[in-house]
Assembly symmetry: C2
């Protein structure tokens, strides 16, 4: 899939599928190629480009109670990332590190996480305008959760 | 699986499996039955009970670079939760709300999220002591990510 760089290492045994995911919708973002896609949400916000979450018809009733202005935790599926890298050498960290010490999309379960602000919400059409996202256009969505600062950050 | 309460609603069409997950390990927690399990991380911290993340042998090299004292985002799989609830009526919110406006474990993809503090880490045995967790003992682990306040919270 991808050639590992020097200092990178891979899983040596195949990964057993243990559970299945469904896609609840997808992300519409300005980022249509990987080179242009911001590497994290902070960088995405700095571009000033907003994005839209599209929720599939069957799941739209689950949007009830979300309001513009709120923060959501969006989980998404970075389906193009390799899943077998254990140690990686990203450009910003030339000494390398284990996958679980990095936010790289390449991970055993390539679940992306963004805390995003809801700008607009139309539950009928399943469209949620958000401030920014660091995901490629078309990325499948897995979950939306209300952001709970006390639970998500206590102890921080 | 579970009977919906009044005011709750369910998916009417079957969910298509679209991707597969692997389990990277499991959580050892003090919570062996659902009634005793704290409903969120804040409540879990208030019990003063710590927990342990166990990483499976194949994935232990991916822990390189994580240090005690750091915050990790742990993603876990709440495999016992129903996946077809669209609207729910939790005890703390008797008027009900859509699943994506709630942190209930019952959701299309029952991925739990906790920002936890690393107390101890032994990469060789794959054991990570953490301050607290709101997950049942034995819950499968999906991912660990370093917590990045600027990316995870900017705009908050």
């Amino acid at each position: 899939m991808f050639d590992p760089r020097p200092g990178e290492s891979r899983l040596t045994e195949p990964q057993e599928p243990a559970a299945t995911l469904c896609f609840i919708g997808h992300i519409e973002s300005p980022w249509t190629d990987r080179a242009a896609c911001p590497k994290n949400l902070r960088a995405a916000r700095e571009t000033g480009r907003s994005a839209t979450l599209h929720i599939a018809p069957a799941y739209r009733p689950a949007l009830e109670g979300i309001a513009a202005g709120e923060l959501l935790v969006a989980l998404y599926w970075m389906s193009e990332a390799p899943r077998d890298l254990l140690r990686q050498v990203p450009r910003h960290r030339p000494e390398g590190a284990g996958t679980f010490a990095l936010r790289s999309p390449a991970r055993p379960n390539p679940i992306g996480l963004g805390v995003v602000r809801v700008l607009t919400l139309d539950a009928g059409s399943g469209r949620i305008g958000i401030d920014a996202i660091d995901a490629l256009d078309g990325t499948p969505l897995l979950d939306l959760k209300p952001h709970m600062p006390l639970a998500d950050l206590a102890g921080a």
